[in-house]
């Protein structure tokens, strides 16, 4: 075991897989010699050569389109979109091609690939370096969507994603690359080395896609969260003294409805937290699902705490970011409901 940052764990996962399977290739903007703007591929080109780790022209559509062709050939591309905010030019190749190739060819051709992208705010990136587009991917049948909250999961899930024979969207909350972040931006940064899940095996291990993890058992209410918001929810639980059971979804699609149902059936109350804009965010699907599965156990309306329905502002970032105060307020409302 080694203390790893989240980007370190991601690099380690790719390294392990490149070592094991020489069909794994890595490409994207600035990922080669430079090692990526968030250093997630640092050292890989030197180790595996520029035929397996290389820079690409600046075109997200071209990157994903080429990856589809490579996947069809038999490679396992692991591509990086520099920021999730820039994935849109590549959506057609994801939605119309990667996600449907297996189906439309009755499995004659497939497009295994992992599309990594940093997401989320909290780094003063403004509207074009802060977005969380996960819900768009979950609406596309044929894509799996993963969004880890810590280094240990990030590595295990990324290895599972690379081994998966279907296209996987792998979102990385950039605010927690270097340490868990609970929303208290005014407090000093905590490094992953202080966190249990910052302790990561050096070698190969995988965490199956589609399994949620209960980060904090509790009896008062259930929190459904993922990525950075898992840490924010923990802070809110601590600060409100409300005994929240925090479910870290880890994979958004396929969704672990069993773990979700078990928890909400127990607590009877549910708060959903995500950073993405509210309307048609993944919280909507979660709320609808919980309502369908646990209707007769619900003692209070399900609440969604999310980013506002505006672009992510730069200067007012912390008024936008769903921090512990807003999550705590939702906890109290949900507990107060009768």
């Amino acid at each position: 075991m080694t203390a790893m940052t989240m980007n370190g764990a991601i690099r380690s996962a790719i390294d392990v897989m490149m070592e094991r399977d020489n069909n794994v290739v890595v490409f994207g903007e600035d990922v080669g010699y430079f090692g990526g703007v968030f250093r997630c591929t640092e050292g890989l080109q030197a180790k595996y050569g520029s035929e397996r780790v290389f820079d690409t022209p600046i075109t997200e559509g071209g990157i994903i389109g080429a990856a589809v062709g490579m996947g069809a050939y038999g490679l396992r591309p692991v591509v990086e979109i520099q920021f999730a905010d820039y994935v849109y030019p590549g959506l057609d190749q994801l939605i119309s091609e990667a996600a449907r190739l297996r189906y439309r060819s009755s499995a004659e051709f497939t497009a295994p690939m992992t599309v990594r992208m940093p997401c989320g705010g909290g780094i003063h990136g403004g509207q074009t370096h802060s977005q969380s587009p996960e819900s768009l991917f979950t609406h596309v049948c044929g894509l799996k969507t993963v969004l880890p909250s810590n280094p240990y999961d990030a590595k295990g899930l990324l290895i599972a994603a690379i081994e998966d024979d279907d296209p996987v969207i792998f979102l990385e909350p950039k605010r927690i690359y270097n340490g868990p972040f609970d929303g208290h931006h005014d407090k000093p940064v905590v490094p992953w080395s202080t966190h249990a899940l910052g302790d990561v095996p050096d070698g190969y291990y995988r965490l199956d896609l589609g399994r949620a993890a209960v980060r904090r058992p509790g009896s008062d209410l259930t929190v459904l969260a993922y990525g950075t918001m898992v840490h924010v929810a923990e802070a809110a639980a601590q600060e409100t003294g409300i005994d929240a059971e925090i479910v870290d979804l880890c994979t958004l699609l396929p969704l672990d409805t069993e773990t979700i149902q078990k928890s909400v059936d127990k607590t009877g109350r549910c708060v959903i937290v995500h950073e993405a804009t509210r309307t048609s965010g993944f919280g909507a699907e979660l709320s609808a699902t919980v309502q369908e599965l646990c209707f007769y156990r619900l003692e209070a309306p399900i609440e969604r705490v999310t980013g506002w329905d505006t672009p992510y502002p730069h200067a007012q970032e912390w008024d936008y970011f769903p921090g512990p105060a807003r999550v705590g307020a939702a906890f109290r409302r949900v507990m107060a409901a009768r």
Binding site: A67, G69, Q93, R104, S105, F109, T110, C141, G142, G210
Partner: protein, 412 residues
């Protein structure tokens, strides 16, 4: 200092609309055999003129002339002719089937048969072709079972694609034919990615991708050329310029300002502009580009000049937007007629033999269509089971899809 003039909006208009005389004066057609054939190691910058002319081998008397003559033996010529004639027979039969309601939709390639057929017979079995919906000639030339083709068009129980895909959206990995996408152009950059993969692995397989001239406007055309040049991918990038994109003539895609072959120049990719209705030119140009790719000289773009003789699809009525008889005045003629004439001039073919060939291919197609019909059509509803629509969304069916499948069956 220039004085101000009001700006004008410049919109290209086709030479002729319904009721007007067809007019192809915009198309310069050099005499066959007049364009030189550069060695395959020629630098792109030393052959830019090939993007503005037209490579032609068959002259007006049906003789094969000039440096691009591939010198095919008679058997190869006959195979090519047979595949083209078979393709037309197949298109005729399926068009009828569509009128009879046995299928919802069909797309013909009439007038363009030489391109897919020649390409298919010149490339190697383990190369991969990334086609459009108008390249059925490849399947026929590669002798993919006509019955399987028809079963797909009829969406019946034997359709290899289980009725999921619209008619003509074939997928035939066994003959190097990539799954057709309904989304224009997406396959083009995929072909480049596939070719890059072959190079990364140090293999010997090359790729060939196709788009229509209208589709050159899509982003993936640009993505394909950019990746192909940067990584010198072993790929042939084909642009089938059949003059029309549904109701839009080629000028709308920019064809009035330059050739589509010339698009390659700015990327440092060599370009050939070829008479797409000249079977021998198709073989020769394909061979030249394939040899470049196989010898690590990178990508080649080929513009095939041809004409979409039929409607865009069975849902289209071209008489609404172009002269009904435009095809008759098309300067490059009919690829089948031209190869036929060539064989006759060579003294190895006759009108009688040709008539017999047509009868034979018609019969073969009819038999195949009959057999396919016996497995069902959209009309009689003998289609793949609904259960199957939940398969192949993912490799392993996730729980939520299993749940949905149960629900579908309960609610019947």
């Amino acid at each position: 200092m220039i004085e101000d003039v009001p700006l004008r909006f410049g919109i290209p208009t086709p030479p002729a609309r319904p009721g007007e005389m067809a007019d192809f004066s915009y198309l310069e057609v050099p005499a066959a055999g007049t364009v030189e054939r550069p060695p395959i190691d020629t630098a792109p910058k030393d052959m830019r003129d090939l993007a503005y002319t037209m490579i032609r081998v068959l002259d007006d008397d049906g003789a094969a002339v000039g440096p691009w003559n591939p010198e095919l033996d008679v058997t190869s010529l006959r195979d090519g002719l047979r595949a083209m004639v078979m393709t037309r027979s197949y298109d005729d039969r399926m068009t009828t089937a569509q009128r009879q309601g046995k299928t919802s939709f069909y797309i013909r390639c009439t007038g363009e048969e030489a391109i897919a057929v020649g390409h298919a017979l010149e490339l190697r079995p383990d190369d991969m072709f990334f086609p459009t919906y108008r390249q059925q000639g490849w399947l026929i030339a590669r002798r993919w079972p006509l019955v399987d083709m028809a079963c797909q068009v009829f969406s019946n129980e034997k359709d290899r694609l289980h009725g999921r895909q619209m008619p003509i959206m074939y997928s035939a990995r066994d003959v190097g034919f990539f799954s057709i996408s309904g989304n224009l152009g997406t396959q083009y950059v995929q072909a480049v990615g596939w070719a890059m993969a072959s190079a990364i692995k140090g293999d010997t397989r090359i790729a060939s991708g196709v788009v229509g001239e209208g589709t050159t406007a899509e982003a993936d055309f640009h993505h394909a050329l950019t990746f192909a040049t940067t990584y010198q991918a072993p790929v042939i990038l084909n642009v089938v310029n059949n003059q029309w994109a549904i109701s839009s003539f080629q000028g709308i895609a920019g064809g009035s300002r330059s050739t589509f072959a010339a698009r390659a120049i700015g990327y440092g990719i060599p370009a050939l502009r070829v008479d797409g209705n000249d079977y021998l030119a198709v073989i020769a140009a394909t061979r030249w580009a394939a040899e470049r790719a196989r010898t690590n000289r990178g990508p080649t773009l080929i513009e095939w000049v041809t004409y979409r003789a039929s409607a865009h699809s069975t849902s289209d009525d071209p008489s609404r937007y172009r002269p009904v008889d435009e095809w008759k005045s098309w300067p490059l003629g009919d690829p089948i007629e031209r190869l036929k004439t060539h064989l006759i001039t060579l003294g190895v073919w006759s009108e009688e033999q040709h008539a017999a060939l047509i009868a034979e291919t018609d019969a073969e197609v009819l038999a195949a269509a009959r057999e396919a019909e016996s497995y069902g059509t959209l009309l009689d509803g003998r289609v793949a089971s609904a259960r199957g629509i939940f398969e192949d969304v993912f490799k392993d069916m996730p729980e939520h899809l299993q749940r949905q499948r149960r629900q579908m069956e309960d609610e019947r």
